[in-house]
């Protein structure tokens, strides 16, 4: 319930769940556009499937919990979860994978904990982590970016691939899919090759790998717009990217044959998406200004640790989930001093 107050010294608050979620969705457009440009319209189909599944899950859970359904469906919070999950998935993932991930995120990640505002973990990342752990063969089947393959699937082809697992007759899934830059680095380093040789491949050009850098630029652009609009604070993205850049720089200077450049780390994988859209979720992140810096920086450090020495090529989801767990403790120790109270 809001009481718009119009008298002189007050400004009516314009923030609402609706407006914030909608603006975050708008801010996702550049990154989404880059994804569609580089990886084809399958991304849009994934968004549609995830949106439908998330809204259905939301409605079903609300009716089970005997809560009003219509306002929650109109506040875009489930929609945002769905889109964040959909942009993290491989563009040609089978439809049931996306639908299951979105349902898991909403039903178990969000509503079993009490719904919007009560979930301790970022629902989209819960869904992503569950899918990554349970269906690794589908979750690693990324497509080559358009910069490399020169062509992208048409909408109808992508639709068929997602819903019926059929491709145009001259293609197969094994031939079509390709490891991401981070994945390539991880497996090739495991084969004792040096970074120079690995990065001589066609996938690595520019700063973040072909295709992937544009996606990251897109999310960076959307993120900067959100910063300007005051939807997110600067602490988490700066902490995240600063820590990721800093620790990558240290290790790059120590051994450039094994550790990629800090710029590559910041513009590859889910770095920008994570820094601006996922780590900044107001429900699950730390809330104090100092706490947010610590929270963001810890995620950045963990992302580097998982990418360099962990079992997975990228670690944004796991890092965010771990720090979600730590956020209440961080808040406890970084509570701002109340004016007039002793330290």
């Amino acid at each position: 319930m809001r009481f718009p107050t119009a008298h002189a010294p007050y400004l009516a608050p314009v923030n609402s769940v609706n407006r914030i979620m909608l603006e975050v969705l708008v801010a996702l457009i550049p990154g989404l556009a880059a994804l569609v440009w580089q990886f084809g319209p399958g991304v849009l189909v994934q968004c549609m499937i995830a949106l439908l599944a998330a809204q259905l899950g939301e409605a079903a859970m609300l009716s089970l919990r005997r809560r009003p359904i219509a306002p929650a469906l109109r506040d875009y919070s489930a929609a945002l979860t769905a889109v964040l999950l959909a942009v993290s998935l491989p563009p040609l993932a089978p439809w049931w994978l996306t639908a299951f991930g979105a349902l898991f995120a909403i039903v178990i990640g969000k509503h079993l904990y009490g719904g919007l505002g009560y979930n301790p973990f970022n629902p989209a990342m819960v869904g992503y982590a569950v899918l990554l752990i349970s269906f690794p063969q589908h979750m690693t089947a990324w497509l080559p970016p358009k910069e490399l393959s020169g062509s992208a699937l048409s909408f109808a082809d992508a639709w068929n691939a997602i819903f019926t697992r059929t491709l145009p007759s001259d293609m197969t899934f094994d031939a079509l899919t390709m490891a991401t830059p981070l994945d390539t680095i991880k497996t090739q380093l495991g084969l004792n090759r040096l970074l120079d040789e690995i990065q001589a491949g066609g996938l690595f050009a520019g700063i973040g790998g072909r295709g992937w850098q544009w996606v990251n630029f897109g999310f960076l652009l959307g993120g900067l717009w959100m910063l300007k609009r005051g939807i997110i604070g600067w602490q988490i993205p700066v902490g995240f990217l600063g820590a990721l850049f800093g620790i990558s720089l240290i290790f790059f200077l120590i051994d450039p044959a094994v550790y990629p450049t800090p710029l590559f780390q910041c513009f590859s994988g889910a770095a920008m998406l994570g820094a601006f859209f996922i780590a900044t979720d107001p429900v699950t992140a730390s809330t104090t200004p100092r706490g947010r810096l610590i929270y963001g920086a810890s995620i950045g450090l963990l992302v580097f640790v998982i990418r360099s020495w962990g079992g997975y090529p990228d670690g944004v989801a796991f890092a965010v989930l771990l720090l979600n767990l730590a956020a209440p403790t961080i808040d406890h120790y970084t509570r701002p001093r109340v004016y007039g109270h002793p330290k």
């Binding site: 079993l112 569950v130 752990i133 349970s134 269906f135």
Partner: protein, 237 residues
């Protein structure tokens, strides 16, 4: 023939109302760790039941001869000896199952359900009641384990009773029951998170059944309109 009516409360508490896994939430470590298939669950559940029966009977037999100050070390000693015997027996007769369950069989010693029953029940009750309590608390624990095991195995692999031969010998080789056909498998259910989520859901189902039974009983004894109980004037405005 034994008169079972005097054990009714023990049976009901052990199996349902005070189920060690679903209500008391004891023994969760082995419960969560080995419940990834029906056979593993059944193996550990029956081993725990045996340990419960023997420790309850022995504790009950010596209950009047142990000084209260040292009762806990004595109980632990009894339980540890029992579990050692059970472990050696399993190693001899169910060798393959013993290899799969591994450390969790010796760890039955640390299952708080067992020392909990010894302290709360066996040390205060005659042998026959302690025996029945051990048996039904154990069966209740086994029931919980098998339910969780079946849930995780069915969702995780699409079939239950895989490798039943570990426990029932050669004839059980093809007891595997397919639940879903053409199923890819859902790895999360078999991994540790599946145990936590599965146990949570099972406890929720148990609470739901209890709540339903309660409203039904309420409706029988008092013909009050149950609607008016749920409706508060706040919601009307």
């Amino acid at each position: 023939m034994i008169d079972f009516s005097k054990y009714q409360k023990i049976v009901r508490d052990g199996l349902w109302h005070n189920n060690q896994a679903f209500v008391a939430l004891l023994g969760l470590c082995p419960l969560l760790a080995v419940s990834n298939s029906v056979i593993n669950s059944l193996g550990l559940g029956l081993a725990t039941t045996m340990a419960l029966i023997f420790s309850n009977v022995i504790v009950s037999l010596i209950r009047n001869h142990v000084a209260t100050e040292i009762r806990l070390p004595v109980f632990v000693l009894i339980i540890a000896s029992n579990v050692t015997v059970i472990e050696l027996l399993m190693n001899a007769f169910f060798h393959d199952l013993h290899k799969i369950l591994g450390i969790f069989i010796p760890l039955i010693v640390t299952n708080c359900a067992i020392i909990g029953r010894a302290e709360a029940f066996a040390s205060k009750n005659p042998v026959d009641r302690a025996l029945m309590d051990g048996l039904f608390v154990g069966l209740g624990f086994t029931f919980a384990l098998v339910m969780l095991g079946a849930l995780r195995e069915a969702i995780g692999t699409g079939a239950v009773l895989n490798r039943a031969d570990l426990m029932f010998g050669e004839i059980a080789k093809n007891w595997t029951l397919p639940v879903f056909s053409d199923y890819d498998g859902f790895l999360l259910a078999i991994l540790p998170p599946g145990a936590f989520i599965g146990l949570g859901l099972l406890i929720a189902v148990k609470n739901l059944i209890d709540a339903r039974a309660k409203t039904k009983a309420l409706g029988k004894t008092a013909p009050v309109q149950t609607d008016s109980l749920h409706k508060s004037p706040m919601h009307e405005s």
